[in-house]
């Protein structure tokens, strides 16, 4: 056969709840109940509040660099709801706060973490979340590995989900994670929050492809592009992917098309590289606005509930911040003690003496007074 087609593929886009809060009823079938919608809306709203307070904490010098989630919350909550808390694993980047909270991470941990304290990543037993990943694009392999362990142990009811940005897809480890997952056919979901920017680089300069979703074609991995500001579409795509995963159908890819409404982090100033007009256009697609519109249209939400939620959010976040601020100051020994299950002697000496020279490890040999040693 001289000239023939050996492979064909296409990428579908899914939107169920549009920018105006209008739902496609047919597509919405078997997705979210109204109660669930309200729940997810509340999660998003609280997360938004946290973002704003975190921003203020940073600006007033009480917190280091912090990456806001603003505008992207639907990706986190819609997908997190499709995963099973305490059973599945979440391997996050750093812009999915709401997903982490929904899966049991105490809210103040995230503040404590960004205040420069590793204990904010010491999640309680039973919370199946890996720590926020500072090196971009490198953590998805851990999700592949975790999902591989499920398969290996025949824990047929478990899946892993990993979140990452559009920028993260440029790292080699993205490719490695996708290839291993597809070769091993592990129950893993790759969720890309395509928020159009990686710090100052627009998506079009990050990659040459029309969509992020098509990157999965390289691995014959089921893939879909969804409106990432639409909790219905996000939920549906993730549930479908999870169902496929636990039924032995292997990994899936989801591109959530969304937008980073805030600066990259509090250390960034997005006005240097993007037009306000672009931001304004996306402000109208805000998941909170459209979800609220939908809830109001079906009569499960009104201004009173909104007011009540806003004040509740304030209270929650205030408590969260108080909790984060009131944790004890870490001590230097902490960064020694958690280096290894059991500390090598040499490191014990470093910890106990806060010295890095081994003079005096054996005072008799070097003739220094013992008192001198421990000074």
């Amino acid at each position: 056969m001289p000239h023939h087609t050996v492979y064909e593929a296409k990428i579908e886009h899914l939107q169920i709840l549009d920018e105006d809060g209008v739902l496609d009823k047919k597509l919405a079938k078997d997705t979210l109940s109204d109660d669930q919608v309200v729940y997810l809306y509340e999660q998003m709203r609280v997360c938004r509040e946290l973002d704003e307070i975190a921003f203020k904490l940073q600006r007033s010098g009480r917190m280091g660099t912090y990456p806001q989630n603003k505008g992207q919350e639907a990706n986190a909550v819609g997908s997190a709801l499709a995963m099973v808390k305490g059973n599945d694993w979440i391997v996050p980047s750093y812009r999915e706060n709401a997903a982490l909270f929904m899966h049991g991470m105490p809210m103040h941990y995230v503040i404590q973490y960004w205040m420069g304290d590793e204990r904010g990543s010491k999640f309680p037993e039973g919370v199946n979340i890996t720590p926020l990943s500072v090196p971009i694009g490198t953590h998805m392999l851990h999700a592949t590995g975790i999902a591989w362990a499920f398969k290996q142990r025949k824990e047929a009811d478990r899946a892993a989900i990993t979140y990452f940005g559009d920028g993260a897809t440029s790292e080699g480890d993205f490719h490695n994670a996708m290839n291993f997952a597809s070769v091993m056919q592990v129950p893993c979901i790759f969720y890309c929050q395509n928020n159009s920017w990686a710090i100052s680089l627009p998506r079009e300069q990050q990659m040459n492809s029309a969509t992020v979703a098509q990157k999965a074609l390289a691995y014959d991995m089921p893939t879909i592009q969804v409106d990432g500001n639409d909790i219905f579409a996000v939920y549906k795509a993730t549930s479908d992917a999870r169902k496929r995963a636990i039924e032995g159908g292997g990994p899936s890819f989801i591109e959530g098309v969304t937008y980073r409404l805030a600066d990259h982090t509090t250390a960034d100033d997005a006005r240097r590289y993007r037009d306000q007009s672009e931001v304004d256009a996306w402000l109208e697609k805000d998941p909170l606005i459209r979800t609220r519109k939908y809830m109001e249209s079906v009569g499960v939400w009104d201004d009173k509930k909104q007011e009540e939620l806003e004040s509740r959010a304030k209270t929650i976040v205030k408590e969260v911040v108080d909790a984060a601020i009131s944790v004890s100051t870490p001590t230097a020994s902490e960064f020694f003690d958690d280096m290894y299950a059991e500390l090598p002697d040499d490191l014990k000496i470093q910890r106990d003496t806060m010295r890095t020279t081994s003079i005096g490890r054996n005072p008799s040999q070097i003739g220094l007074s013992a008192q001198h040693q421990n000074a």
Binding site: E118, F123, G145, D173, N176, A341
Partner: protein, 324 residues
Amino acid sequence: MAEQTLVGAITSTLDQALARDPDVILLGEDIGVNGGVFRATEGLMATHGEDRVVSTPLDETGIMGTAIGLAIAGMKPIPEIQFEGFLGPAYDQFVNHAARMRTRTRSAVTVPMTVRVPVGGGIHAPELHSDSPEVIYAHSPGIKVLMPCTPYDAKGLLNSAIKDPDPVIFFEPKRVYRTFKEEVPDEYYEIPMGEAKVVSEGEDLTIVTWGAPVFQCLEAIDNLPEDVSVELIDLRSIYPFDMDTVAESVCKTGRCVIVHEAPLTGGFGAEIAARVMEECFLHLEAPVQRVAGFDTIMPYYKLENEYLPEAPRILKGITECLAY
């Protein structure tokens, strides 16, 4: 009890680990049906199944990164990297994730894994098949670094590594994979990490080395005049490392030669030399000498023996140190 080569001892230790613990999983390039390019996993897939001895895609990043995930989920992965020169693509996952997961989460998430890597020169292999990068990992906190060079030590240290709750890199000096056999007990035993071995006792000078050069040192010692008595220490464990044994010996002999294949500058020999000075200062009768690889790329095989610290060069180091 049976006579085994170094590689044989590794194979049987892995075999026992797979049999003992269902959470143990081996992954690496060509380790399945092919038994690995050095045959270190020969027969293991047949015995334990292809889901436990897994030939992976050609991707060291992926091997290391998925091993981290496996470990997080409670497995005990034993990844193999085919040659030390191919640790490059796995470097970031290893030192920036595996080594940091425990401290990053204050021990909530841990990464028990043993990365097996053939190491060193002397087998006439192509470029990037003959290097000795141990100090890179010894300098990276959160990792334990082993390099046994005898079948007995290999089994004991590999068992300790597999049992350890933290990431261990286990270097296997490929040059001595099959050069000799020795008795290795059939039953399980451990050799604690961080304990050096005194290979031969002596009074006049201490040699500290690890990996294949142990045997070049023995050859050098054999060629010394009868009245010179050298204490030979095989470090075995590069991190943690056993300064007690080293310092005690050098305080006794007053002279020290360090031998390693890796380039001199910034090699682990520098650390040992610095510590020896710190801990044996008043006992030292000569500066510590380092007989090491040169600060060049390990040359392709026509010249590799010029590069490696072979017996004559070690002998010269010993002689000069004694003459000081």
